[in-house]
């Protein structure tokens, strides 16, 4: 095992070298090339001035050196051991302890590390919130779709998820902003950014001016959640559907009433019917886990809404809740399209194992179906999921340019695209290096996980 690990770790170096070399070559060979021109872009400057500017940047960042020299210099800078260079660019000697330096981004005029330190937390926050949601929902639906193969849940969830997958993020984002962040419809969410200005001076955690409100909140949430969960678990299908449909009708009516201006009956009717339909559908499904989960969440929001309505004192949102409130739409945009792939993957893996001999044996010896599924089949179906999870690590840092542009969030996606557009050598190479490294580490981890999940896999 250790031999294998060391071999894999050593193999990373040539791979990373290859990745960065290819990226650098493509960038240097692309029309426009790497040059200081984009820094001086089309300003009314006299040629001597322009020349002076260009010389200045060339001297600072060595942009006019031959491409191989530029690459080798970058390589020397990032490698923890290498040659040291004095102020005039002369080689001083070889050092084993010089440490690695990602260099300066010439577009920003700042160290790449600084930029990363600014952008990584934002992207990480977005992904840390959206990835668990994606995995949880996709696995829950995928497993059920496999056990219910060919029945309405399988077909319905498949169609819905693929439908969501096919909606372009750009469109969904604009629609979400237009409907749920606008005074013209429902102004529930902010349109852009990560926090309101007021939130920057708020305390971090939310707080209430009256203790009674906090108690009320706990009580209302507890009552609403236990009611919903109780109905979901104990109530019959008819009762559930009836109650949920009524709730949906009521909420739909409220939504229509919240629209600005006078609304026709049609809008109210359509909204109420749509919400009632969705709620009833949730209540109708006999998949207890999904049903209870969704109904519990509905109950949670219901409880919060009731508590907020009857609260007496003042409530300060706090930095934390404000941030979450700003992240709601971006996280929704990031996650809705990704369910389909994982759910389908889970479904096919579970399906294959459900028909395997060992599952039949387990059933034959009297193991209950639930245990067969979760104890035996699900564990064996994890392998393809582990393969996919290898992409998770680089994925956590890879931003989405579309979502970031839509919601004006300065994350890694924007940084990467802008870097490529302006041929920002250090920044592009550093981003490539980091994402390459994370991908390779992700593969390594998933290979190790194989060995843990499946005793047949061995690297001796």
């Amino acid at each position: 095992m250790y031999h294998y690990l060391i071999r894999r770790l050593l193999l990373m170096f040539p791979t990373l070298f290859g990745i960065t070399l290819v990226v650098f070559m493509v960038m240097a060979a692309a029309p426009g090339g790497i040059s200081a021109q984009s820094l001086i872009e089309g300003q009314n400057l006299e040629p001597e001035v322009k020349k002076a500017l260009e010389d200045y940047y060339n001297r600072l960042y060595g942009l006019d050196d031959p491409a191989p020299v530029q690459y080798l210099r970058w390589l020397n800078n990032v490698s923890p051991i290498g040659f040291t260079v004095d102020k005039d660019g002369e080689l001083e000697g070889f050092s084993l302890t010089k440490g690695s330096d990602l260099g300066m981004s010439f577009r920003y005029g700042r160290p790449v590390l600084d930029l990363l330190a600014e952008r990584v937390p934002v992207t990480l926050l977005l992904n840390v919130l959206s990835v668990p949601i994606i995995y949880l929902i996709a696995i829950v639906i995928g497993v059920r779709a496999a056990t219910e193969r060919g029945r309405s849940f399988d077909v319905g969830s498949g169609v819905t998820l693929l439908g969501l997958w096919s909606v372009p993020t750009m469109l969904a984002g604009v629609l979400l902003i237009g409907f749920f962040a606008s005074d013209q419809y429902w102004h529930w969410f902010p349109t852009a950014g990560l926090s309101r200005r007021e939130a920057l001076v708020m305390p971090f955690l939310p707080h209430w001016s009256a203790w009674g409100d906090l108690l009320l909140l706990f009580a209302a949430v507890a009552v609403a959640v236990s009611l919903c969960v109780g109905i979901s678990l104990k109530g019959g299908a008819r009762l559930r559907m009836l109650l949920m449909a009524v709730l949906g009708l009521f909420l739909g009516g409220m939504m229509a009433a919240a629209l600005p201006g006078e609304q026709g009956y049609l809008v109210t009717l359509v909204l109420a019917a749509a919400l009632a339909g969705i709620f009833a559908l949730v209540a109708y499904t006999d998949y207890a886990a999904l049903r209870t989960g969704v109904m519990g969440i509905i109950g949670l929001f219901l409880g919060i809404a009731v508590a907020a309505h009857f609260a007496q004192g003042e409530f300060v949102r706090g930095f934390l809740l404000d941030r979450l409130w700003h992240l709601a739409l971006p996280v929704l945009c990031l996650s809705y399209g990704s369910f389909a792939f994982l759910a389908k993957l889970t479904r096919s893996a579970v399906l294959e194992n459900l028909q395997a001999d060992y599952a039949r044996t387990a059933r034959a010896k009297g193991v209950p179906e639930r245990l067969v599924l979760w104890r035996h089949v699900f564990r064996n179906s994890l392998l393809p999921l582990i393969t996919v999870a290898a992409g998770l690590l680089p994925g956590l840092l890879g931003g989405s340019i579309i979502v970031e542009a839509l919601f004006s969030i300065d994350g890694m996606g924007k940084l990467a695209v802008e870097a490529v557009q302006s041929r920002d050598r250090e920044l592009v190479l550093s981003l490539t290096l980091i994402s390459g490294l994370l991908t390779l580490v992700g593969y390594l981890i998933s290979d190790i996980c194989y060995a843990i999940a499946d005793p047949r896999v061995s690297y001796e």
Binding site: G32, E46, E54, G109, V174, D183, G193, A405, D410
Partner: protein, 624 residues
């Protein structure tokens, strides 16, 4: 046999992770409280300083009183009635209106995140919008007469040769941290810019025309220029004055300054709450009123906020939600929004031609690969201008919110000769000119051919992300086809476009230039600028034009200079090195609660300093 995982374990894990989360959140909370504490400490320190300086003033007054200054009180009274500087007259007029009230904020949006707002290091327009409120210069322009007026300078004189400018500074100007602004700060600003260790190559290039800046006593500065230059007063008077005591320490570590994100302090009406700690990840910029502002008229607005909203649709929605106070629309959108009763009922809208707005054009490259191209013939360029139906462009692409550009000079500036009019679309004249230049359809395929039988075909390079340019190019393709000219649109990425311009490797290109209040055409069209890296990428060479422009630039007498500019304009009109396309109008919506928003010759006065817009007390939305 391993113990099965039970619900009890799950509860335990959930509890443990909840505990961990709580500890983490509590740590964050304490950290934020520390920050706030240090903020409060800074404010207290500031107040203590203020009190001390106030006490000093009182003491000195006291001593003067005891020393018998009472006797000269009648003559001292004259000094109290210090006349209001002309630069504050507009703000003063606003302050005397019946519904004037101080308070409220102005919230705007930037489409792009700021990299830095440190002066000199920043290069974008957005950063300079912010700095405009913080840094002050010696002079400002009057928005109506366009004459220079003293701001920090009380008065100024020009030597007879036009090379030396002497400014007398006011003695009551203070930076926002209470330190006085003196001649030493002006000299320091120039020296700081000229220090090669500071990353200000752009400014260094601008101020290269200045030979020296010297202080003469505490409140007088002398600027000496190397050569007579028409724009020298604006160079010297428009320099934003940096605080010596604040920026000087960075000379020891220029890297810290060059990489800084928010080192900004000045004598202007607004200031950063902390002049050192702004970072781009704050998600916007916030300026607060400078409590120590020296000016005779205090700015009405409490705070100025800029949010970053990159997405166009989101910006409009935010304006609809009344979370930002101004919105700049594009023609098509503007027309649609005007019909929106709800929006127009609570906003005021302005459509205006800004004096500094600039123009778009098609540049005809006269030399390609060291050989004269077919556009080297002025008749061909004139014919192309006749073919370019600019009125249709104005009507169809800009929906009337633009005007045909005649020359690089704005028709509202004195540089423009009203006798020169734009060429109208005329297919017949164009065809005749092309025939005279030797183009005819020789093989009967409907496309003009030159004497050698090569078809008249060219590529038009344009910036791919500009929607207006895309629509424009399609229209032009049709128009040129009418005369038998084949035009191939070539959408281009920005960095590639810069490369093409640098190598002058294109047939024709459509771009835009911005204008100044007095537009200089030397960089774009003087023949010396055809060298590598010059902006005369169309290779236009005219001896007459060169001579006239050189004379104009070196002439400091305004009337003579204007006559020369007009002469240059006539040459350009005859030669048509560019086909000047249109000047677009700025279309803006402003929230209705802002009063006294008005158009001036420079443009809308919303962002003028001294601030002249205000919100009446009854309509104020934000309070501190």
């Amino acid at each position: 046999m391993e113990r099965p995982f039970t619900a009890k374990d799950l509860l335990l894990y959930a509890f443990l992770s909840l505990l961990l989360l709580m500890i983490l959140l509590a740590m964050y909370m304490v950290d934020r409280q520390w920050e706030k504490l240090s903020q409060m400490q800074r404010v207290m320190q500031e107040q203590a300083d203020d009190v001390r300086s106030l006490r000093d003033t009182v003491r000195s007054l006291d001593q003067r009183l005891q020393g018998g200054a009472l006797a000269s009180a009648p003559s001292g009274a004259g000094a109290v009635a210090d006349p209001l500087p002309a630069s504050f007259s507009r703000a003063q007029a606003a302050a005397q209106k019946a519904d004037y009230a101080a308070g409220d904020w102005l919230v705007s949006a930037f489409a792009v995140g700021l990299k830095t707002i440190t002066p000199l290091v920043s290069s974008d327009r957005y950063a300079s919008d912010v700095q405009n409120y913080v840094l002050e210069s010696l002079l400002v322009r009057d928005p109506e007469t366009l004459e220079w007026q003293g701001l920090i300078a009380r008065a100024w004189q020009v030597s007879d040769d036009g090379l030396t400018f002497t400014f007398q500074l006011r003695d009551d100007v203070k930076f926002s941290d209470g330190q006085p602004l003196t001649a030493a700060d002006v000299v320091f600003t120039y020296d700081f810019i000229m220090n090669p260790a500071i990353a200000a190559p752009r400014e260094r290039a601008y101020y290269d025309k200045i030979a020296s800046v010297k202080a003469n006593g505490k409140y007088e500065v002398l600027f000496r220029f190397k050569e007579p230059y028409f724009n020298s007063l604006s160079l010297a008077g428009g320099m934003g004055i940096l605080a010596k005591h604040f920026y000087e320490p960075y000379l020891a570590s220029p890297e810290t300054f060059n990489q800084s994100k928010g080192l900004l302090i000045g004598s202007g009406p607004y200031r950063l709450a902390d002049p050192k700690s702004w970072t781009p990840d704050k998600g916007g910029v916030e300026l607060e009123r400078n409590p120590r502002y020296w000016g005779p008229v205090q700015p009405p607005l409490d705070r100025l906020l800029w949010k970053i909203i990159a997405n166009d649709a989101a910006r409009l929605t935010t304006f609809r939600n009344r979370e930002i106070d101004s919105y700049g629309a594009r023609p098509r959108e503007y027309q649609k929004l005007l019909e929106d009763k709800e929006l127009t009922s609570r906003s005021q809208h302005f459509e205006y031609m800004a004096l500094t707005g600039g123009y778009s054009y098609i540049g005809w490259n006269q030399v390609r690969n060291d050989k004269p191209s077919r556009f080297a013939d002025p008749r061909v360029r004139q014919a192309m201008t006749y073919l370019t139906d600019r009125q249709r462009i104005v009507d169809e692409i800009y929906l009337g919110y633009a005007e045909v550009a005649v020359s690089p000079f704005s028709p509202r500036s004195r540089q423009h000769d009203p006798a020169i009019e734009a060429r109208q679309f005329n297919l017949e004249t164009a065809k005749r000119l092309l025939r005279e230049a030797g183009f005819a359809d020789r093989d009967g395929d409907g496309v003009l051919d030159d004497a050698a039988g090569k078809p008249f075909k060219f590529e038009l390079v344009f910036f791919q992300d500009n929607e207006d340019a895309r629509r424009l190019v399609l229209l032009l393709k049709d128009l040129y086809a009418k005369a038998g000219i084949l035009m191939e649109p070539k959408p281009t990425e920005w960095s590639v476009m810069l490369d093409l311009l640098n190598r002058k490797d294109f047939d024709a290109i459509t771009l835009g230039w911005t204008s100044g209040i007095e537009t200089d055409v030397y960089q774009m069209l003087h023949s010396s600028q055809t060298v590598n890296g010059g902006d005369n990428f169309v290779n236009y060479r005219s001896k007459d034009f060169d001579r006239v422009v050189e004379q104009a630039r070196a002439n400091v007498n305004e009337d003579q200079r204007m006559a020369l500019w007009r002469q240059a304009e006539r040459i350009l009109d005859e030669d048509q090195p560019y086909t000047f396309l249109v000047r677009g109008k700025t279309l803006a919506f402003i929230d209705k609660r802002f009063h006294n928003v008005a158009l001036t010759r420079i443009g809308l006065n919303l962002n003028f300093v001294p601030v002249e817009v205000y919100v009446p007390a009854a309509m104020q939305k934000y309070t501190d």
